[in-house]
Each structure stands twice: as structure tokens, then as C-alpha cells.
């Protein structure tokens, strides 16, 4: 063996009943060349487990460590630190994923699962023999973060990062800050007014000397890596100047549905979404503006959008792109077909638009009986609910709708005591602090509770005109032991769930991934709950999953803490898994440069050697991604990716191919 290296194999498996299998694997591995010690341990990752490794390194002179355990994404970093503490280079460690890829998936055949473990570990040990000491790449980091999304999560994240003495650029796609929270009125659990609370936050953000805000702005390209992302933004024109804005808004005659009121009202294409919005200067809705001139007295003014490009560098990116309320399909519970069916967000806007003391009407009729219907677009079941256009059903719970519905029931009863409320649900999930009280209050208010079984959802139908009510809700009610119940109603309110905003282009640019539920995916819900698989890109708020305002704010601050951990020292460390040229083998063919897609990652240099000139390839580690395109291209085998060399892979294949008869102990 090259340097007398001595890999140490430890096999870990948490399954108590598989204890013997683990011991067999360990005994077998102990027979492989160079293996000094081979152990099993219930939890190698615990402090006591880690001490065993440190002790073996110090006392037995072990100089390579291989552990077979849970997925490397969970604990490879943990064990690299362990070996480092014991004085070994951290890259003298190799991790084999035996839990997710073996013991959890081959339960039907323990013998073959054990064989697989032995072969995978043999491969790991084979690689370990060829491991080389590596040093992390240390690069200066911009103490500057880009926050994408100007809703409550983005605002909170921006403020928390700025307070930590770092610069922030906050971008918002629409011309105004505030996001979905601005569309709410009173918010649970505190009863505060949404836009008042939000306004305070916006002004803290806007006044902060280290925060730059760009509204009407989107990310258009990003490259680089944690610590130094090169970012390009595109910013739409405001379209109006402070001097002419009010007049132009008055003169403007083009109307579009107002998304702030979920289409219940119309607004002009030059607009402010609400009084007290930020920035207060109106903006042009370029998406809907038809380009026709606006006539103001004798003047005819054509509005011009002249998007501006901004370039900046940032050390980290916070994705706070938020959610959309679920948009029911046409005809889903009568939505879009029966005018008396609206969504809960629409009801909130409708009530906000209604003058104090006015009675609640729909379609010109007074409202006497309201059915609140839960879980629309949430907890959907395949085969029961019609899939959405992309073929998916939302099988998740949207967290906030139950409490939001109870909260709205209370408001309805307060404002219109004569109205009868019927709450149709599968479960009531008022889980949050203080939320149970809203449930109790709703019951005390006399709201009738009706409960269906998920597989058997209620049906909403229009009644013939002339009937006492415009529509009826039918369900089999579990609270009355399965009685078929009919509730005639004047208004049906659909408590719609949350869907992530569609940010496919952003996801693609950032190279992050959505989960099965389409929300952006964290690395691990407990170990790395706000991080994505791309180092330096973190998640905040409802882009990651349904959350309440409180939960979004907490998640945003957690994201800010992560950004601070990454950047506050002003430098980042990157894995050294980049290409490396062996100058003795390199003939300067340039094949590597040809296949490399990264700017300035590899280049040819002319070097004078013993009087003669020689061309050979040189790698710039900060720009190299470690993809290995150059490795397969080099006709002389002169390039390798550090830590992932071809020789190591060949050795791993040999490890997988070991003859079991050579290594297995023969039972006497």
C-alpha cells in the first residue's frame, strides 16, 4: 500500500434487531487489508461515539476513517470535524450511506442487505486508501445579502441581517412592499391591524442605512458561489414622477381587476394598492397597461417602461417569494360558476370594503346563512379530488386556514349578529398559541359545526331561482353519526389553502429544488431547516411551506441567523473538490479548456522549463465547479477532481466486486 495507510471501518446501524448483521459486517471488514479496527456502535455520531474515533486515531495510529451510517448529507460534516479534532486532515474521512440506501430499503432480505453493506463498505475502504489530505478553499465573502421578496418574511429577514451589521439589497417584483400581509385586516392572535404592524416594519426597513430597496425588480441572472454571487437585477420603471403622478392617476381611464381585492373591485393601471403603501408614489402596472395615451387636459401622455439593469455582488441570497392562495378550479364547490361562492381571502377584502354598519349582501341579496368550507385546495386525496392542471393534488395541510376561518367567523358574528354560520370541516386545527380560544369563541357564538370525512367531501349546488336560498351544501355529517345534512346558504366561503408562488425561473437560476408539494425544499427539516442544497441560498417564509405571519417572521429571522453565520466573518470556506492538474502528465493539449463551461476556471499557460517552453493547464480553484468535464477529456489522465479522483472510483468498483468467499468468515 502506498503509504501504509490504515483505514478504520466502523459500521453503524441504529436498528436493534440488526445488531448481529452489523457485527458480521464489522468482523468481515476487519479482514480487509489495512483495516486496523472495525467496530459497531449504536450511535457513532454521539459525543461518546465520536470520542471512540478520536481515541482510535490517537492510540492505534489510525489514519483513515470510514463510517457506514445514515446518509452523508446528514453527518459527513460531523465526522470530518471529529477526525480533524483528533489531528487528522478532515478529508481523510469517507462516509458510506448504509441507512437510507441499504438497511431501510432491503428489509425483505437481510442476507443480501448485509452483503450489500459489506460491498459498499469495501468500496468505501478502497477509496479511503487513496484519500489525500486537502485544504478548504478560503475566499473573502461580501457582507451583503440579497433578499428576494418584499413581504413580511423578506422584510423581517432584511432587517435582521442589517441589524447584524451587514448590507442588504431587498428586491420586490411588484411596485410595492408588503406582500400578502397587506391584504389582511385584523390578524390573529393579537388582533392588531395588519397594515399598521406591517407599516411599522416597512418603515424600519426603509429607514435602515444598510438596506437598499428595489421595487418592481427581479433577479435576471446569478453566478458565483456563497460569499460572492454575481447578481443581475432588472428594475421596471415607475412610469410616473412625483410631480405628475396624482394628475396622471386621475386622468387614467384604463381599469383592470384589482388583485389587492382579489378581483372584487377594479383599479386603474396607474395605481396605489392601498392608502399608506410603500413607496407611496403610484406605479404603472406594465403588465396590463395597453399602451394607449392618457389624456390630461390638452396633453396626451404615453407611459414608457425603460427597464434598468443593476449589477451587484452578494454573499448570500434569501428566497422569500411567498405564497398564492389556492385558486379553485372553475366549478370546484361551485366556485366561478355560482356567484355566491367566494374564497376566504375574498371575504376578508369584501368585509374590509364594507362600510361600518352596512349589512352584508351578495349579488344584491342580504346574507342570512353562511357556510364556511375548510380544506379547499388542502388535504386533497388522489382519486377523490380533481387533480390540478399540472396533475398534482395538494395533499398537505395549509396550517393557517382553520384559525383564519374561526377568526373570520368571530368577526362576522360581531358585525352581523343575526347571521347564521355553519362551519364545515374535516378537523379543526387551531393549534397555535391562543388559537384554541378562537375555536371556543366560535362555538360559543353559536356557529354550527359540521364534519365530513375526507374521502367524502361536501357538495355545493345552486338552487333553482325562487328557492329561499341561492345554494345548498350537502354532506354526510360525522358529528351526527353520518346523517345526511343539507344546509341552504346565501354565501359559501371557501377556506382556500396556500400554494407557493410560481418562481420556476428563479428556482432554475438558483439551482435550488422544490419538494413534492412544490414548496421550496430545505436540506433537512431539523438539521438545516432554512438552508437549500445550494450553499449561501436560504429560505424564508411561505416559499418553503404554509406558515402563519408569526411563523414566517420566525423563519425569516432564522434565515437571517444562517446568513450571519455564513458571512459575518467576512470569509467563506468552500469544499476543495475542484480540478487539479498533474504537471508531470500534462502535455498542454488544451482538451480540458475546450470542454470547460466555466469562465476562467482552467487555462493554458506557457512555462519555461529547463530552457524549453512548455504549455500546460492551470486551474483557478475559485472558478472551478468540480464537474469533471476536463477529467474525461484529458487524453493523458493529467487532471482529476480532488477528493473524487478516477483512481478512487476504479478502486471503489474493485471494492464492490470483492469475492465474498475471500472475506466472509466460515462458520465451523
Amino acid at each position: 500500500m502506498d503509504d501504509g495507510s490504515a483505514p478504520r471501518a466502523v459500521d453503524e446501524n441504529q436498528q436493534a434487531d440488526a445488531d448481529n448483521d452489523c457485527k458480521l459486517v464489522a468482523r468481515t471488514l476487519a479482514r480487509l487489508p489495512n483495516v486496523v479496527v472495525s467496530r459497531t456502535n449504536m450511535s457513532m455520531c454521539s459525543d461518546s461515539g465520536q470520542s471512540i474515533i478520536e481515541q482510535d486515531i490517537k492510540e492505534l495510529g489510525v489514519n483513515r476513517v470510514v463510517i457506514g451510517a445514515c446518509a452523508p448529507s446528514l453527518h459527513e460534516a460531523t465526522f470530518r470535524q471529529t477526525v480533524e479534532r483528533a489531528g487528522l486532515n478532515r478529508y481523510y474521512y469517507h462516509h458510506v450511506g448504509l441507512r437510507e440506501q441499504d438497511s431501510w430499503v432491503h428489509g425483505h432480505d437481510r442476507i443480501l442487505a448485509t452483503e450489500k453493506a459489506i460491498r459498499l463498505m469495501a468500496a468505501g475502504i478502497a477509496k479511503a486508501r487513496l484519500l489525500e489530505p486537502l485544504e478548504a478553499i478560503r475566499l473573502p465573502a461580501e457582507k451583503h445579502a440579497l433578499v428576494i421578496g418584499g413581504g413580511v418574511a423578506g422584510l423581517k429577514a432584511a432587517l435582521a441581517i442589517a441589524r447584524r451589521d451587514m448590507r442588504v439589497t431587498l428586491i420586490e417584483k411588484t411596485p410595492f412592499l408588503g406582500g400578502r400581509m397587506a391584504q389582511l385586516e385584523r390578524i390573529f392572535p393579537s388582533g392588531e391591524h395588519a397594515r399598521t404592524v406591517l407599516g411599522g416594519l416597512i418603515h424600519e426597513v426603509a429607514d435602515h442605512p444598510r438596506i437598499t430597496i428595489h421595487v418592481g425588480t427581479q433577479l435576471t441572472s446569478i453566478s458565483g458561489y456563497v460569499g460572492d454571487f454575481k447578481i443581475q437585477l432588472t428594475k421596471q420603471s415607475r412610469g410616473v414622477t412625483p410631480e405628475q403622478a396624482e394628475q396622471l392617476m386621475d386622468c387614467c381611464s384604463q381599469y383592470v381587476p384589482d388583485e389587492f381585492n382579489y378581483g372584487l373591485t377594479q383599479r386603474k393601471v396607474i395605481y396605489r394598492p392601498y392608502d399608506g403603501c410603500y413607496p407611496s408614489l403610484p406605479a404603472v402596472d406594465w403588465e396590463h397597461y395597453d399602451g394607449s395615451p392618457i389624456t390630461c387636459g390638452s396633453e396626451r401622455i404615453v407611459l414608457k417602461n425603460d427597464p434598468e439593469t443593476l449589477d451587484l455582488s452578494a454573499g448570500a441570497v434569501v428566497v422569500a417569494t411567498g405564497f398564492n392562495p389556492y385558486e379553485p378550479a372553475a366549478g370546484e364547490y361551485g366556485y366561478g360558476v355560482i356567484p355566491e361562492v367566494i374564497t376566504l381571502p375574498q371575504l376578508i377584502r369584501k368585509l374590509a370594503l364594507l362600510e361600518a354598519g352596512a349589512s352584508l349582501e351578495i349579488n344584491g341579496h342580504p346574507v342570512r346563512d353562511i357556510v364556511m368550507l375548510h380544506c379547499v385546495g388542502s388535504r386533497q386525496i388522489e382519486g377523490v379530488h380533481e387533480p390540478q392542471p399540472d396533475g398534482q393534488v395538494n395533499d398537505y395541510c395549509s396550517r393557517v386556514c382553520c384559525t383564519a376561518t374561526m377568526y373570520e367567523c368571530i368577526e362576522l358574528k360581531e358585525r352581523f349578529p343575526e347571521i347564521n354560520l355553519f362551519d364545515v370541516h374535516e378537523d379543526i386545527r387551531t393549534y397555535g398559541r391562543g388559537h384554541e380560544e378562537f375555536y371556543r369563541q366560535t362555538l360559543e357564538d353559536g356557529t354550527v359545526m359540521l364534519r365530513y370525512q375526507g374521502e367524502n367531501p361536501p357538495v355545493v349546488e345552486a338552487l333553482p331561482s325562487g328557492d329561499s336560498h341561492p345554494l345548498v351544501v350537502r354532506l354526510r355529517d360525522r358529528l351526527t353519526w353520518g346523517e345526511e345534512v343539507e344546509v341552504p346558504a346565501d354565501l359559501v366561503v371557501l377556506a382556500v389553502g396556500m400554494m407557493p408562488r410560481l418562481v420556476n425561473d428563479l428556482v432554475e437560476m438558483l439551482k435550488i429544488s422544490p419538494g413534492k408539494d412544490r414548496f421550496l425544499l430545505e436540506v433537512h427539516p431539523k438539521l438545516r431547516p432554512v438552508e437549500t442544497s445550494v450553499s449561501g441560498v436560504v429560505l424564508a417564509g411561505t416559499a418553503q411551506g404554509p406558515m402563519s405571519i408569526q411563523e414566517s417572521a420566525a423563519a425569516a429571522e432564522a434565515a437571517a441567523a444562517k446568513v450571519a453565520c455564513l458571512l459575518s466573518q467576512g470569509r467563506v470556506e468552500l469544499e476543495p473538490f475542484v480540478a487539479r492538474v498533474n504537471p508531470e502528465l500534462c502535455e498542454g493539449t488544451g482538451a480540458c479548456v475546450e470542454v470547460c463551461a466555466y469562465e476562467n476556471a482552467i487555462s493554458l499557460r506557457t512555462i519555461r522549463q529547463n530552457g524549453s517552453e512548455k504549455r500546460h493547464a492551470v486551474v483557478s480553484p475559485a472558478n472551478c465547479s468540480g464537474c469533471g468535464n476536463c477529467v474525461s477529456a484529458c487524453p493523458h489522465g493529467a487532471i482529476d477532481v480532488q477528493g473524487w479522483t478516477l483512481k478512487q472510483f476504479d478502486a471503489m468498483v474493485d471494492g464492490l466486486a470483492i469475492d465474498m468467499f475471500d472475506v466472509l468468515e466460515v462458520e465451523k
Partner: protein, 444 residues
């Protein structure tokens, strides 16, 4: 007396406290972490597997414990309690009582020779007294630090441990020690208690041996658990029919606990799935009011359990009694059956107990509790980690029931708020602040 200055003091070494400490220390701050019990890890380290990923719990917890223990920016004070917090213009002055372990932590190597030599068996708190341990012991196999502790109340002073200890670490003369430290900010991560098993007379008031609580089931299911498998404690029989009684301690006005404890639905479902793995023939029924599987991936987890054959019955269990075979008779009105009071017999009942505040004015440290007994959040929507005391922040279940995922996020939020506070203080110090008198905040 040691006088030490820290940027932040984190009170509580459970998952939230550890996460807050790590999130602060990784930003370069100096952190003191005070934990009341012998080891950090909190309640989480006692759990079997965690929902919804079914990762083994120690796989998530122990590396964090280890990271805390080895972090050069974190000073750990275990088996220590905060006695007093004073505040002046420099920040907080904190007295910490280091309780005597009767084992010298500077010498003990965690070799457990004392434990092997000790003749006294005592109920093991780590296994919720389902197993026995010794009067002198390393608290549990994955404890951090791996330092033994001697239970002086049960010690016979036979001297066997002193003889067995290879490094002479046993020190029966050890006295409590007061440490004084200064910190710019404080994060409270004092955690929760579970509903006591004897809280409800209708459920046997803790006298029925085969009525256990959810945390005891966690121990039975844990690979390091007392029996290594699921057996009912009354007679060691392998249970064939297991019932979960949901909301046993939450949403219950008779107990004065009107809130939802948020985790019980998910842990019951998780345990049901784990039991079906270890006892494939056992029938499992979950009696519930509402199933609240609201977190990311939780609803799908619930639906999986239904597919696996776990029975969900809507109905509040009114009472539990025991028959002559130690089996348990549950009386309830099941919503999915006929409109009548039904009796169902099971051979093991798990009470899905809820979370209670660690109500101890001393551990609340000058911040006010809300009506529910948890730390008040004066700005619940936009600044959930804020308390009513400037400079003191709250993380995790000290601010009300929450699961591990939410606790970890909350802990990150508290760390961010605390970091912002530290930076503001630093700026103000640079601008010179007039001396303010030392003010007493609380007494131990």
C-alpha cells in the same frame, strides 16, 4: 469566584437552547450555555425517532450536543442553575449555582467504573423510571458531558465507587459553587414539562400500570430503551391491542389547560407507525377530537398511517378502568359508530399527554408569563422571540408548545434577535452611555 464575560447567555440546553447557542457562536459571539440537568440534550434526547422523517432521534440530537460541547465559542455549564440576574449599563450580571456532582468533572473520564461498582439501584429518570440505574452513574450513554454524577440521597457511602474510580474523581465533600458571569443578552430556552400521568382521575390517576404516557412509549420504542422492545409495564406482556387517548392533558378545561399542545397528534401517529413495525400483529387505535397534522409533510404522514391500518376513531375517551387481567376498558362516545356510549378494551393505553410550562418563577427570570403560563410574547406576530424585558429573548417551548422543527426555527429567530441586540449595544457603547444604577431583576 470566576468572572467571565459573554456576549450571550443561553438558559436551557435542550434542542432550542443548543440551536440558539450554535447560531450565536457560529457568528463569532461568545456564548455561555447553562443547563439544569446533568447533560444537555433536553427532552429530545429521550425520544425514539422523530416525525415526519423517522430519523432516529439521537442521530439528530447527539451531533448537535457534540457540536455544542466542542465549540470554542461556547462555554457549557451543566448541572447548573441560574440563581439571580442583575442588570446594569454593562448588561446582565448572572449568578449560576453549580450543583455538586460529587464527582470531579476535571478528572472524570466517563469510564463508568463507579457505576459498575455501585451496589445501589435507583429508578432511572432517563427511562422515566421504567428501568433502574445506579446511584452513581454517567446519566445515559450519549450524555454530554460524559461525566458521572452521584445521587447523594440514595448513596450509602459504602466507598465502593471511590475504590473503583481509577482517577480518584469521587469527591463526597463537594459543595455547591456559585459562578458569576456577565452577558450582554440572554436567550431563555427553558423548555416544557409534560402533563403528569396522575393528572386525570378519570384516566386512572396514574395508578393503572398499563396506562402510560407518550414519553414512556418513546423510551419503550427507543433502541436504547428499558426493555429493548415494547412490553406493557404491568406484567411484561407483549401488547396486542394498543389505544392512544389524544388530548390527555390538552384542550381540557378540567385541567385548566385550554390550549392545544401541537405535538401529540403527530407523536401518537409516529409511535403507532413504529409499533406496527415492531409488533406487526398489534392493533392500534387512536381516539381523537381533531387530528392536527399541520406541519410540512405531516398530513401525508397521517394519511400513510391510515393506509398502514392504524385505526382512527373520533371520540373523547371519558374514562379508563382496569379489568382482572390488567386490561383496560375505555368508555367513549365514538362518532363513527352508533350514537351510544361504547366500551372498548385494550391491553395497553398511551395517554397523549401535552406540554405544560416549566412554571418556576425562578426559571422565568424576570420576564412575565402569559395566562397559559408560558413566557409572554408581547409582539407575537412580527417578533415572536421578544419578551417583555429588553435584552431577554425566548426560544422554543418556553414560549408555548411547539414541535422540534418549529423550536429549531424559533431558536434561530431568537439568535438573530439576540445578535441584533448585541450589535446595537456595541454601537451604543461606542457612543458612551451614562452609568445607570445596578438594578435587581430577580432573586433565586
Amino acid at each position: 469566584m470566576v468572572l467571565d464575560t459573554y456576549d450571550a447567555l443561553v438558559v436551557g440546553g435542550g434542542i432550542s437552547g443548543m440551536q440558539s447557542a450554535l447560531d450565536l457562536a457560529n457568528q463569532g459571539y461568545r456564548v455561555a450555555l447553562v443547563e439544569r440537568s446533568e447533560s444537555i440534550g433536553g427532552k429530545m434526547i429521550q425520544l425514539s425517532k422523530v416525525f415526519p422523517t423517522l430519523d432516529c432521534c439521537s442521530c439528530i440530537t447527539t451531533p448537535k450536543m457534540s457540536a455544542v460541547a466542542h465549540h470554542h465559542g461556547i462555554q457549557l455549564f451543566t448541572y447548573s442553575e441560574v440563581q439571580q440576574i442583575l442588570e446594569d449599563s454593562d448588561g446582565f450580571h448572572v449568578d449560576i449555582l453549580k450543583k455538586p456532582r460529587y464527582v470531579r468533572d476535571d478528572l472524570c473520564t466517563g469510564c463508568r467504573q463507579c457505576e459498575y461498582a455501585c451496589p445501589i439501584y435507583v429508578p432511572n429518570p432517563y427511562d422515566l423510571e421504567l428501568s433502574a440505574t445506579k446511584a452513581v452513574r454517567v446519566p445515559f450513554s450519549t450524555a454530554v458531558p460524559q461525566t458521572a454524577v452521584l445521587d447523594i440521597e440514595n448513596c450509602l457511602f459504602c466507598g465502593k465507587c471511590e475504590k473503583a474510580c481509577p482517577v480518584d474523581a469521587i469527591d463526597l465533600a463537594q459543595a455547591p459553587e456559585i459562578k458569576h458571569l456577565r452577558a450582554t443578552t440572554i436567550v431563555l430556552a427553558t423548555g416544557y414539562e409534560i402533563t403528569q400521568r396522575d393528572a386525570k382521575a378519570e384516566y386512572g390517576a396514574g395508578r393503572l400500570p398499563n396506562v402510560i404516557d407518550g414519553l414512556m412509549m418513546e423510551r419503550l420504542l427507543a433502541p436504547t430503551g428499558p426493555y429493548g422492545r415494547v412490553l406493557r409495564p404491568g406484567d411484561g406482556k407483549e401488547p396486542e391491542s394498543i389505544a392512544y387517548v389524544q388530548c390527555a392533558g390538552s384542550r381540557d378545561e378540567t385541567l385548566g389547560v385550554e390550549y392545544c399542545s401541537r405535538v401529540c397528534c403527530m407523536y401518537a401517529i409516529k409511535q403507532a407507525m413504529l409499533i406496527s413495525g415492531s409488533l406487526p400483529l398489534a392493533d392500534i387505535t387512536i381516539y381523537y377530537m381533531d387530528i392536527r397534522t399541520f406541519g410540512k409533510g405531516y398530513e401525508q404522514f397521517y394519511q400513510n398511517a391510515r393506509t398502514m391500518g392504524v385505526e382512527f376513531v373520533k371520540g373523547k375517551v371519558a374514562s379508563i378502568t382496569q379489568d382482572e387481567n390488567q386490561n383496560l376498558v375505555l368508555r367513549l362516545e365514538a362518532m363513527d359508530g352508533k350514537p351510544e356510549v361504547a366500551e372498548r378494551t385494550h391491553d395497553l393505553v398511551v395517554l397523549s399527554v401535552g406540554m405544560l410550562p416549566q412554571y418556576d418563577p425562578k426559571t422565568l427570570y424576570a420576564v412575565s408569563p402569559a395566562e397559559d403560563g408560558f413566557v409572554q410574547q408581547p409582539s407575537p406576530n412580527l417578533a415572536p422571540s421578544l419578551t417583555d424585558r429588553h435584552g431577554i429573548f425566548v426560544a422554543g417551548t418556553a414560549a408555548g408548545p411547539m414541535d422540534i422543527v418549529d423550536s429549531i426555527v424559533m431558536a434561530g429567530a431568537a439568535a438573530a434577535s439576540a445578535a441584533g441586540y448585541i450589535e446595537e449595544r456595541l454601537m451604543r457603547t461606542n457612543e458612551q452611555v451614562p452609568e445607570s444604577p445596578v438594578m435587581e431583576v430577580t432573586h433565586g
